[in-house]
């Protein structure tokens, strides 16, 4: 016979026959021993459930008797948790905004190059068989990708010269992986029919002292190492506000650059756009499928680890803040529980004298601490989630602080977003903190001597 069945059969008849509406829910649940089938029968005997019910009742009624104190403590926990949830949401929104902008600005989520190209970009390290990579991308279900040809070059105007990273982009596919077109402040982005058209960063254009429509000479080396030079027309200037984009970058169409460098269909870089959560799995899948091709598959955080480290550091500050809030919650609840314990010393003495064990007294206080913690967490989650939801809906405008343009890839309008793991960690830690706050008073109460407690309480 199964354990479930054994315990169900031992349920007393008189309890099941009692009309439900006349009994409290807690009593009903605790006396329905078959609901606790995972406990051994002897542990979850009727007497155990009755005693548990009694202890629970005393604990809950004590909380209700001191409503103001209970509500204040619950409120403090709720406000602390809500502010943490909001901060996590804001932080996550900020990171998403920043990392999204960073990836969409120019580098994408994942890049594929020939081995060693990222460290030493040379045209001799171009991908000789791009169709093989395209097949792998299709196999992995990736359609948002673009191809580039990248090389160092010298840009020369009538007045001066400047070193630039010359990038050949596919004007059509590029829109699928980056939002570079949106960063063009003056002029326009590349069109498919453009030949020998050039886009420069604002700082570079300024240094070269050129305007839209002016001629720029680009001098570079083709794949054989021979010097090549071509004349380009400036059609657009990037005014992103980010130094990495505005300085040292020259963009032309992929076909133009392939022709100039005599590289036909070759490219140096595949740029892929992907959801942040899928990046690790995509990287490993592509690494696996391209392992024979001497290619490097690099996620953004491998190429620019400083961004990842900055996010980790920023989260670290929040964990520090979490620690501070936890300390406040712990101190607040410990204070409440200690006052409650000291106020009821006499009562505990009496309860012990008439047969309540120290463990039961400790359990009573722990239940009170847990109930306060759970209630605080529920209200905190509601409050915090609502604040994240509504601010996420309309965004928080930080243009007063940041100006109208983005800085460090951060847009002035932040949309807070809550990650469930942050919610879980924060709530879990606060629950544990509230239990810890109950442990000391519970331990002290359990050690009370009945006579001393009655006499001095």
């Amino acid at each position: 016979m199964s354990r479930w069945r054994t315990i169900s059969l031992t349920r007393p008849r008189e309890n099941s026959a009692t009309p439900l509406r006349k009994r409290c829910l807690l009593c009903y649940i605790l006396e329905r021993r078959d609901l606790f089938y995972f406990f051994p029968g002897e542990l979850m005997s009727l007497s155990t459930t009755t005693v548990a019910h009694t202890i629970l009742t005393v604990a809950l009624r004590n909380l209700l008797t001191h409503r103001r104190r209970t509500l204040l403590t619950i409120g403090a926990i709720a406000v602390g948790l809500a502010s943490l949830i909001f901060l996590w949401g804001f932080n996550e929104g900020l990171h998403r905004n920043m990392l999204g902008n960073f990836q969409k600005a120019i580098i994408g989520s994942i890049q594929i190059h020939r081995d060693g190209f990222f460290q030493h970009p040379e045209l001799s390290k171009s991908i000789t068989n791009p169709s093989r990579v395209v097949d792998s991308l299709h196999q992995a279900g990736i359609s948002d990708y673009s191809t580039r040809l990248e090389s160092f070059a010298l840009a020369a105007s009538d007045f001066t010269t400047q070193g630039v990273m010359l990038i050949g982009m596919d004007p059509v596919r590029e829109g699928r992986v980056t939002e570079l077109a949106k960063r063009i402040g003056i002029g326009r982005f590349l069109a498919p029919e453009d030949e020998y058209a050039l886009i420069l960063g604002a700082t570079t254009a300024n240094n070269l002292q050129i305007r839209l429509g002016d001629e720029v000479i680009i001098i570079g080396y083709d794949r054989y190492g021979a010097m090549v030079a071509e004349s380009f027309t400036l059609i657009g200037i990037i005014t992103s506000g980010e130094m990495g984009l505005d300085k040292g970058m020259a963009i032309t169409s992929l076909a133009t650059l392939q022709e100039m460098m005599d590289l036909n269909d070759r490219v140096t870089t595949f740029v892929i756009s992907s959801d942040e959560r899928n990046i690790p799995s995509l990287v490993s899948e592509l690494e696996h499928s391209l392992q024979d091709e001497s290619l490097e598959v690099m996620p953004w955080y491998t190429m620019f680890p400083v961004m990842k480290e900055w996010v980790t550091l920023h989260n670290g500050f929040l964990y520090l803040f979490l620690g501070v809030v936890l300390f406040i919650v712990l101190a607040g609840e410990l204070n409440t529980m200690l006052i409650s314990m000291l106020e009821r010393t006499r009562e505990f003495g009496v309860l012990m004298a008439i047969g309540t064990t120290g463990y039961q007294i400790a359990g009573m206080l722990l239940i009170e601490a847990a109930v306060i913690g759970i209630a605080g967490i529920i209200f905190g989650i509601i409050l915090g989630y609502a604040s994240v939801f509504f601010t996420g809906l309309y965004g928080i405008d930080l243009s007063i602080l940041l100006g109208s343009t983005s800085r460090f890839y951060v847009d002035p309008l932040i949309h807070p977003h809550l990650k469930l793991d942050h919610l879980g960690i924060t709530s879990g830690v606060i629950f544990i903190a509230s239990l810890i706050a109950g442990i000391y008073p519970a331990w002290r109460a359990s050690l009370l001597q009945p006579v001393e407690a009655i006499r001095n309480g």
Binding site: P12, E14, N15, T18, C27, E31, S45, L46, S47, T48, T50, V51, H53, T54, V58, R61, N62, L64, T65, R346, E347, V350, L351, M352, A353, I354, G355, T356, T357, G358, Q360, Q449, P450, V451, I454
Partner: protein
């Protein structure tokens, strides 16, 4: 020979305040028989409460032997003592000490629930004992909605509800007016007579002493006097009579009848 319910031999207890000893009990030897209605009398500081606390397994001793219901309570650990109290001893305190968040019947039912009885059964028992102490109609009131006398009756009901063989009452009438106190003592006496439960009461209230079946006088931690039967004057009988509204002759007649009845049933330990 009936085995005593409480047997104390050479009991010594001393309190310490810093390095200063304060002897509380000194060489106590005492036997209490089952069904007795015994009163421990003495001035404040004579050691009455300490003696009751020791018998109630609430306090340790320095020296001596204490057996309650045949158990050596001094050699029990903390949990065993708690269980022993729960099963065998009922307490009535001077300051009532009811659980303020519970109603009267929940207060009484609490000990039954601790014993593992179902909530329904416990509340039925509580209702029974509240009727026994004549406040059955007040079962749904909380302690702060009851008078002192009513609260002490609830405390008596609570003490009886666990079905103990011994009830220890520490100055149960000290916080009550004389009339209420008298009623309470009469009630306890009547329950002692009817149920055969042993009552050991500490008090310096003359009414309580008058009602005692046995009076143990303590002074400076020692038993200085002990009567098995307290001599009663007609006045003392009248003053301890629960029917004080009746004419004196009628009251005395009723009381003498009760005492004869009590004597006839003497030796009967448990009526339940």
């Amino acid at each position: 020979m009936v085995k005593p319910i409480i047997s104390i031999r050479e009991l010594h207890k001393c309190y310490w305040v810093g390095t200063m000893p304060f002897p509380a009990l000194h060489g106590i030897n005492l036997d209490i028989k089952p069904g007795e209605f015994a009163v421990v009398a003495g001035r404040s500081g004579s050691g009455k409460s300490t003696l009751l606390n020791i018998i109630g397994a609430l306090e340790s001793v320095d020296n001596g032997n204490v057996e309650v219901l045949g158990h050596d309570i001094l050699n029990m650990n903390r949990d065993l003592r708690t269980q022993f109290r729960l099963r065998n001893i009922g307490f009535v305190f001077q300051a009532y000490n009811l659980i303020r968040v519970f109603t009267a019947r929940e207060n009484v039912a609490y000990v039954c629930q601790l014993q593992g009885k179902s909530r329904k059964e416990s509340l039925d028992i509580a209702n029974h004992w509240l009727h026994e102490v004549e406040i059955g109609h007040l079962g749904y009131r909380r302690p702060d909605q009851l008078s002192g006398g009513q609260q002490q009756r609830v405390a008596v009901a609570r003490a009886l509800a666990s079905g103990p063989k011994l009830i220890l009452a520490d100055e149960p009438t000290a916080n009550l007016d004389s009339m209420t106190g008298r009623h309470l003592i009469n009630l306890m006496h009547e329950l002692n007579q009817r149920l055969g439960t042993t009552f050991l009461i500490s008090s310096h209230d003359p009414d309580v002493k008058r009602a005692a079946g046995r009076l143990i006088k303590l002074a400076d931690g020692q038993i200085v006097d002990s009567w098995d039967e307290v001599p009663k004057t007609p006045q003392s009988l009248a003053s301890s009579c629960p029917t004080s509204h009746l004419p004196l002759k009628e009251r005395l007649r009723k009381l003498l009848y009760q005492r004869r009845k009590a004597r006839a049933s003497k030796g009967k330990v448990d009526h339940r």
